[in-house]
Amino acid sequence: MSAERSFSKEVESLRLGDGEVFHGEGILAVTKALLQSGVAYVGGYQGAPVSHLLDVLLDAEELMDEMGIHVETGTNEAAAAAMLGASINYPLRGAVGWKSIVGTNVAADALSNLASPGVIGGALIVSGEDYGEGASIIQERTLSMAMKSSMWLVDPRPNLTSIVDTVESSFELSEASNTPVIMQLRIRSCHVQGRFIARDNKKPPINTRERQKEPAPFNYGRLAHPPVTFAQEKLKVEERLPAAQKFICDRKLNEFFDGDIERLGIIVPGGLYNTLIRRLARLGLADDFGNSKIPLMVLNVVFPLVPDQIRDFAAGKDAVLIIEEGNPEYIEHQINTILRKADIQTRLHGKDVFPMAGEYNGAVMHQGLMGFIEAEGLGIGDPVQIRAEADRIDAAMDGAEAAFPTALPPRPPQFCTGCPERPVFSALKLLQEDIGKVHIAADIGCHAFATFEPFSMGNSILGYGMSLASAAAVSPFQDKRSISIMGDGGFWHNGLTTGVIANMLNEGDAVLVIMQNGFTSATGQQFIPSSAKGRGGRDPGMSIERTLEALGVPWMRTVRTYSVAAMVETLREALTTSEKGLKIIIADGECQLARQRRLRGENAEKLKSGKRVELPRFGIDDEVCTGDHSCIRLSGCPSLTIKPNPDPLREDPVASVNNSCVGCGLCGEVSHAAVLCPSFYRAERVRNPGMLERAVEGMRKSVIGLLGGHGA
């Protein structure tokens, strides 16, 4: 459930039955597939591109209740991973989802402890691979995490039918091999809009309505605790791995496509299949329906590999191309070993023709295939068509990058119009102009947009909720105190323990600013423990302030974020007071996106019943503005923009407030705090004004008209 988007329509499609056509997004197809698989519990932690998985289930409270499915929002990915522990002792199918690699990292400890004893109920981790174009995190792959814990990694072809089938078979694979399965879905696969033929939902045999009478009997073998951990390590390779490999073969999870050019072959993970087919088709080596002239082995399961399948595919071929994103090239290494041990002399291509780093999009795939073709000879397919295609792509790229003589201005994401976090950085900028620069430990969340212009602030980002911890060894070596920025989402995710408690335990002297906007706003405004309204509209009843009080934080202030002058002074005090110990400023301001959504509803109600509604916005007298843009350098609000100078004698554009302004008040605060210029005004439009208000305005108009101002 999130405040940003309602899934009421999607909830309906979760009820589709046998033979009905599901239309929608990839991640919602996964959600439907979970229900078709008889899942008993679902959990996770939000983050693009998988947030919607949980959001939609939380909106489907009624359906979940009917089916007896338990849905839990984890406070972080470790909590979500630990939840899969239910499948160790009970034949319950469970699924959790998060953004990877970061979520998998946070979950790693629980995952190791889950994978070691193994599961008896199918356990599926839906991993949103935030990798490549559009990604917002460090660029690493999930495969190594699966390999080191002996969890299986499936990577389905990116069409809804394959994705849905893979979800269902993954539970079976998990149960057949007593091993948790990770399903990786790339960003575009999560957001792909397509269709599949639905099946009936399956009610889990054990569910929240039909419960078990007794807990599982004590079984030391199901603990991740010595001495059984030694036995479990052996079990992974001696029993679970062969069982998985057998299941993969029996159920044909990997797919083989024949082709005329039998002396060659391509091994490709399912997730890259569509990109490959498109490039092959344009080179005349396939058609648009997937019929390839070069034989293909599609790894819908990228770990474990099945050596027999690899040997059978490669044997008798001159050369095989392995397509694998990421570094190191784990699949290529394994295949090399498999073929070497079998003494199969097929040449292998992979990272020699493909780049070591980065996403394999269409352009990269084309270059890699051309490298393969060149290495193995143009005798593949029709050389004329291949050359024509290569020339065509070269021509498309030729001069494209250099189409403009100067670099185009970048457009990174930024704080929304009226965002409550922006003023904190306006205050920080003003303060630093006065007292000099300070070390700023940044964090994950919307506030990380302060690393972009016009603020360009933040010395490090060490992960979600980690800012204060990341400054632990910075502060002791700095004359000035450092500032750590943390969102309320990061605070509850782990910042409370890794940051606040650690700093107090170590008698630190740090300054922490907690952005309290009431949601994990960057991921789509999911609810957090301190949200005013949580699941089902109920108040979770937890407060950051009370938590910190209970911990005994020695110095704490709560400041309304838009009060720039007060924020400057509070920050100054925190940085300069002689008082030792952790100093926390709670920067309080509701997420403006959420607030506007709330106000729109409230105002519509009021207008309908003829009640008074105030609609504030800011404006600029363009005759007064001289086009220096100091105000923009202290704000960067999308609604505070520029327009051509109406003064025929001036060229520099003037500042201008556009219609998206929500009247947050920052412009006024900043022009006061920074002593900027007198151009700004606030205009409050009052709809349905009262009788008295109207009378006063009428009187004012006539008097001001007499004074030479505006007439009526």
């Binding site: 084309h366 189409a403 006024g668 205009a683 001001i704």
Partner: protein, 503 residues
């Protein structure tokens, strides 16, 4: 060969690109066409640049009889049939990625700009070159549909996404009827009227049926009529400066009075017969400098009769709505002294020198200018224009203007380009409080490092002119003056003085 139709949409987060994509997908599905769309929303939804990619198989499911086309998830260079963009800079960005090509792509692009932060925050003009964006977009695409989608959306009372949909429908490349799109909007049942209006606007524009309106610059001083005497004097100047003079005279009559406008012409007269380029620049910046931004001028601007109507329109206020306007003013000791006579101002400032408290004194005011008392305060301040000539600020500005003119006159004897560049440096002096101090300071630095030496013939006039232009750009590059320092130190190599000409 049958191949999928490819459609790439560039938009900004929050513009409704997701909804737009759904409309297209639904319309294709309703037409029984295989379709797939992908996007990379993530944090780009927070107003960043993002794209949506759609592939449609141009045959119906029945025609391909059970076969499933394999659609690509991401666009590839040189393979886009239709590229639609809600903003001009984003059009340029996708061109750079090779997605728009002259052999294939129909380009649908809005001509309006949503400025990026880096463009907005520059102290001068950081805007990307619009003409160039349009030019390149035309050169690198097969055919083009350009129109101002923001304008079309505003006129239709719709979101830009609906206008984009209309233009995509109207471009004629998709095998989907206009009516199918309309049906989709109706079936969705959200803001149907507005979305349909936006759709029709886009459809019309794409079919080439759009009126282009040239923007008329507003004449702020239309209420002022120049006196016959001033008009007569102005007529004796070259034709190149006539538009500027027409504006400048009325501007200065509004700012001060007829005599002050006369002073402007007096000051300009010595340049009338010189190099036209110098005259044009002096005419322009002299008028700007003589109408300097003191608190009286601010009050004049904020009490103009047409102002409230303009603000009301901005808020979208209907007839029965009331609108309250609050001004944010924070004059400090400097602004206070500006309007005092010189003697008193100097006394106050001398005391401020000794007292930090007084030096940093500011009065933050939130003034309700739509109330009688608030308006009266501003009107009283505006009325102080009668005493302006006696204020300390006025004296200082006149001295500074005379000094600047003196530099230009001296330079004109040496080199016209040098004179023109010195005149142009007036662009640096603008704004209020710190901004004004910084601009004046930057002018001083350029004067000391380049203008002075050039006039003293310590450095070559021709190259000094080039260096001054560079220094001016550098002064506008960052507020801390770092770029200016670098530029000045780079150009500080003194050129041996030229030997005096023999005659």
């Amino acid at each position: 060969m049958t191949a999928p139709l490819t459609l790439l949409i560039a938009a900004l987060g929050g513009e409704g690109g997701g909804v737009l994509t759904s409309w297209i997908v639904n319309a294709a599905q309703d037409s029984n066409l295989p379709v797939q769309a992908t996007s990379i929303p993530g944090v780009a939804q927070r107003t960043g640049a993002t794209t949506y990619y759609v592939e449609i198989w141009p045959q119906t499911w029945d025609e391909i009889d059970g076969a499933e086309p394999v659609f690509a998830l991401s666009p590839s260079p040189g393979e886009i049939d239709v590229f639609a963009s809600s903003e001009l800079l984003e059009t340029g960005r996708q061109i750079q990625s090779g997605y728009v090509t002259p052999d294939r792509t129909l380009l649908i692009a809005s001509t309006h700009r949503v400025f990026a932060t880096s463009e907005k925050m520059k102290m001068g003009d950081g805007r990307a070159d619009n003409k160039q964006l349009v030019q390149v977009a035309g050169d690198r695409s097969k055919s083009q549909i350009f129109f101002d989608m923001e304008d079309a959306a505003r006129n239709a009372g719709a979101h830009i996404s609906a206008v984009l949909l209309g233009s995509i429908a109207g471009c004629g490349t998709l095998p989907i009827s206009d009516e199918t799109f309309r049906e989709g909007i109706r079936a969705e049942g959200k803001a149907v009227e507005a979305n349909l209006a936006g759709f029709e606007a886009g459809l019309k524009a794409a079919k080439g049926d759009v009126a282009v309106q040239a923007l008329q610059p507003e004449d702020r001083f239309a209420h002022v009529t120049a006196t016959p005497d001033l008009l007569k004097r102005a007529a004796s100047f070259p034709a190149e400066v006539q538009p500027t003079l027409d504006h400048a005279i009325r501007r200065l009559m509004d700012f001060q009075d007829t005599a002050y406008a006369g002073l402007y012409l007096d000051r300009l007269a010595p340049y009338a017969d010189g190099e036209v380029d110098v005259l044009v620049r002096v005419a322009k910046y002299l008028a700007v400098r003589m109408s300097f931004e003191d608190v009286i001028r601010v009050a004049q601007a904020k009490t103009r009769p047409e102002r409230l109507a303009r603000i009301r329109a901005e808020t979208g206020a209907a007839a029965g709505d009331s609108v309250k306007v609050t001004e944010f003013l924070k004059p400090g000791i400097a602004e206070f002294c500006d309007v005092l006579p010189e003697g008193i101002a100097r006394m106050v400032l001398a005391r401020a020198e000794k007292s930090e408290k007084l030096r940093n004194w500011h009065k933050g005011m939130e003034l309700n200018s739509s109330s009688v008392t608030g308006f009266l305060k501003l009107k009283t301040l505006a009325g102080m224009r009668r005493w302006r000539r006696r204020t300390w600020r006025f004296r200082r500005e006149q001295e500074s203007i005379e000094a600047w003119l003196d530099l230009i006159s001296q330079a004109q004897k040496l080199n016209a380009a040098l004179a023109a560049e010195i005149a142009e440096c007036a662009r640096l002096i603008k704004g209020y409080s710190d901004t004004h101090v910084r601009g004046t300071g930057n002018f001083g630095r350029i004067n000391a490092a380049l203008i002075g030496p050039a006039l003293r013939r310590e450095i070559d006039a021709e190259s000094a002119a080039v260096d001054i232009a560079a220094a001016r750009e550098a002064a506008l590059a960052d507020p801390d003056g770092l770029t200016l320092t670098q530029t000045l130190s780079a150009s500080a190599v003194p050129v041996p003085a030229r030997r005096e000409a023999a005659e």
